[in-house]
């Protein structure tokens, strides 16, 4: 066990934790917006997967990580349009539509990838890291935290931006009202449907970015089902932070570390059954649900469709 506290183990755990945590930050942030507005987005996994594939195709086509990320975000947004039409406008059951989006996205991305790239398995252009001066020179943990592709820092910036929007702007207030008191929002002259539409589209954009990050910065290539449950983990993280969106960053990196533990353990030469290690993040989610689930703050009108005709 002497390998467990070695420099190599800690730095690979930190670095892997950030790489695996950034997609959770993007997606969890998106889900937090959506949940605040009263829409429980179970389709997050599907939107991430769509973004992962869109980002992959975009990056291959333009030979650029940044264009790839943009394509990924757009793909996520297009998929979330389905949720807008069905759940916000037509008041369909949010859970059924969410599962539909996840299953459909799993199927269509795997099909397209297999039919188009199944023989070649191409890799996307390398995403070059940018080392933040000084901070990245901190021994052991410095490179792990502060030497990543710029889109990783962008995720953190997004969290602060959204946190500011929710706290200090009119649209932020509308979003919170759409989740807690939709009728009051409508009475005050705001639009519940319009607000929720904006919220769901932002969720799609952020989930798409998160999925694209997995492929473009993390894995370097697309494989079917590449998100592997990260969307569901992000849903729980969003529930967990209870509206204090900045905590998404901490929670995501911690979960990212548990996701990247296998690699770190292998590097440290510790022999633990791989399946148990891969199980860990999901066990953690259950433990977290158990420990904090009862206190988790959820908007009053979450998962309830808003119908003007019914009061």
């Amino acid at each position: 066990m002497n390998g467990l506290f070695s420099e190599l183990f800690i730095s690979s755990l930190v670095s892997g934790g950030v790489i695996a945590g950034i997609p959770l930050i993007y997606a969890g942030l998106g889900e937090a917006i959506s949940e605040r507005a009263g829409v429980l987005n179970v389709g997050l996994e599907g939107m991430m997967l769509g973004g992962a594939y869109g980002g992959f195709v975009g990056a291959l086509h333009f030979q650029s990580t940044w264009f790839g990320l943009m394509c990924g975000g757009l793909t996520g947004m297009v998929i979330s349009l389905l949720m807008v039409v069905l759940c916000v406008r037509l008041n369909s059951n949010q859970i059924v539509v969410g599962i539909a989006i996840t299953l459909g996205a799993e199927g269509v991305t795997a099909l397209l990838h297999g039919a188009i790239y199944g023989d070649s398995y191409p890799r996307v252009p390398t995403a070059h890291p940018y080392a933040i001066p000084l901070l990245s020179e901190i021994p052991i943990i410095g490179p792990g935290f502060f030497n990543h592709h710029v889109s990783a820092y962008f995720a953190v910036a997004c969290v602060f931006f959204v946190s500011w929007v929710l706290k200090s702007t009119g649209i932020g207030l509308s979003i919170k009202a759409a989740g807690d008191q939709p009728h009051a929002l409508e009475a005050a002259g705001g639009g519940v449907h319009r607000t929720r539409t904006i919220a769901v589209l932002s969720t799609g954009l952020l989930a798409g970015l998160g999925g694209a990050f997995i492929v473009l910065v993390g894995a370097g290539l697309f494989v079917p089902f590449v998100t592997n449950g990260k969307g569901f983990i992000a849903i729980v993280l969003a529930m967990l932070v209870r509206g204090r969106v900045k905590w998404i960053i901490v929670a995501s990196v911690l979960f990212g570390m548990s996701l990247s533990l296998t690699t770190a353990l292998q590097l440290a030469g510790v022999d633990v059954p791989i399946d148990l290690v891969l199980m860990l993040p999901f066990v953690l989610i259950i433990v977290v649900l158990f420990a904090f689930g009862r206190r988790s703050y959820l908007p009053a009108a979450l998962a309830l469709p808003y119908d003007r005709e019914q009061r």
């Binding site: 369909s92 059951n93 299953l103 099909l111 449950g229 199980m279």
Partner: protein, 365 residues
């Protein structure tokens, strides 16, 4: 959290039904169910066309290999057995307002134990006794596995959608761990359990490969239908699903009922695995994940929890699953068409629900 049953839709549908003849009602519910299916086929066909494959040839091959060819038809009937049992479990959970989305994990956990137990027991007991033990083992293991989300839900109010989905991920890894560490066959190089000898498997019917698991599945679906609609217990579960507050007011023990719903629903998923392993598979490999549980979800909804419709939809799905494998191979695309189509099916189902609600509102005003 809104229950799977859309209260208003059901109430309106029942209100309407009084003015309709039985025949009209049946034909209307058939059209309502068929529209999403047709929609899914059209969009699926468009995707095939985009990929440069001929959709008509693809669907033709599906029917050829899943229904018309004798080998394919037998395979379809074999596949139906576990699907019917999973559906039977969902026919308990969904009307009772419990989103058991963890049937895949429950299936695999039950299956691993059955696969490990089978070859150990086979030399000592055989036939009816062996199968009874294996069926009970599969049922009980999956039921115990589902106690985790059940207790979280009943005592701590934790939403079961996330917990059951997460437990599928855990169950898949945990069963792989069990196979690799404890249940592996020392005589093979790939990590897998010992094989249940063909002679020790479920008896076959009509001098074909189809085993009696199909009967078990059919009986289960019909029995669940009967219990849910014609017994006090079934009525209780449906009240819990439609109006939990009313259930509490009526003095029902919600905690016990929640546990019952989870364990019964998961138990059927475990039984499904037991039937499939003692019927055809005979073995479980590490990393084994049939991933059919989530795909059964829309079928059960489309069938509105009605036994006859469930059987029809499961049969059609099995045809598509078996035929789709051959058709995908011929079209040189990976075998994910079914997954995509099930997603489409759910989306069109949501659309259909909206149309129905709108038309019944028009009728009212």
């Amino acid at each position: 959290m809104s229950a799977p049953h859309d209260g208003t839709t059901v109430a309106l549908a029942e209100h309407k039904s009084q003015t309709e003849s039985r025949l009209e009602r049946v034909s209307r519910s058939m059209t309502n169910a068929l529209i999403p299916v047709v929609g899914a086929f059209i969009i699926g066909g468009l995707l095939l066309a985009v990929l440069g494959r001929n959709p008509f040839a693809f669907y033709g091959n599906v029917i050829d290999h899943g229904l018309i060819g004798s080998l394919g038809r037998q395979e379809t009937l074999i596949r139906m057995a576990p699907l019917l049992l999973i559906a039977a479990g969902l026919m308990i959970a969904f009307p009772a307002g419990i989103w058991n989305l963890g049937t895949d994990g429950q299936y695999v956990m039950g299956g691993v134990i059955v696969a490990a137990l089978g070859p150990e027991l086979a030399p000592h007991v055989s036939g009816f006794v062996l199968f009874t033990i294996l069926f009970i083992a599969g049922f009980v293991v999956a039921a115990i596995w589902s106690l985790i989300p059940a207790i979280l839900k009943a005592w701590y109010g934790i939403n079961e959608i996330i917990s059951t989905l997460m437990l599928t991920f855990i169950g898949l890894r945990f069963s792989a761990f069990l196979v690799k560490e404890y249940f592996y066959d020392r005589e093979t190089t790939v990590p897998q359990t010992r094989v249940l000898a063909v002679a020790d498997r479920l008896p076959r019917m009509f001098s074909s490969r189809v085993h009696i698991g199909l009967i078990v599945g059919l009986v289960a679906v019909i029995a669940v239908h009967f219990v849910m609609r014609n017994t006090a217990f079934g009525l209780r579960l449906r009240i819990v699903g439609m109006n939990p507050k009313a259930a509490i007011h009526a003095g029902m023990n919600m905690k016990v009922l929640t546990l019952a719903i989870f364990t019964l629903s998961a138990g059927f998923a475990g039984l499904a695995a037991a039937v499939n392993i003692s019927g055809v598979d005979g073995v479980v490999r590490a990393e084994w994940n049939p991933a059919v549980g989530l795909l059964v979800v829309p079928l059960v909804f489309l069938a509105r929890f009605h036994a006859a419709s469930v059987i029809v939809f499961i049969a059609a799905f099995a045809v598509f699953k078996v035929g789709g494998e051959s058709a995908s191979r011929k079209a040189d695309i990976p075998n994910f068409m079914v997954l995509f189509m099930v997603g489409l099916l759910l989306i069109f189902m949501a659309l259909g629900e909206y149309m129905q609600l709108r038309s019944s509102r028009k009728h009212q005003s």
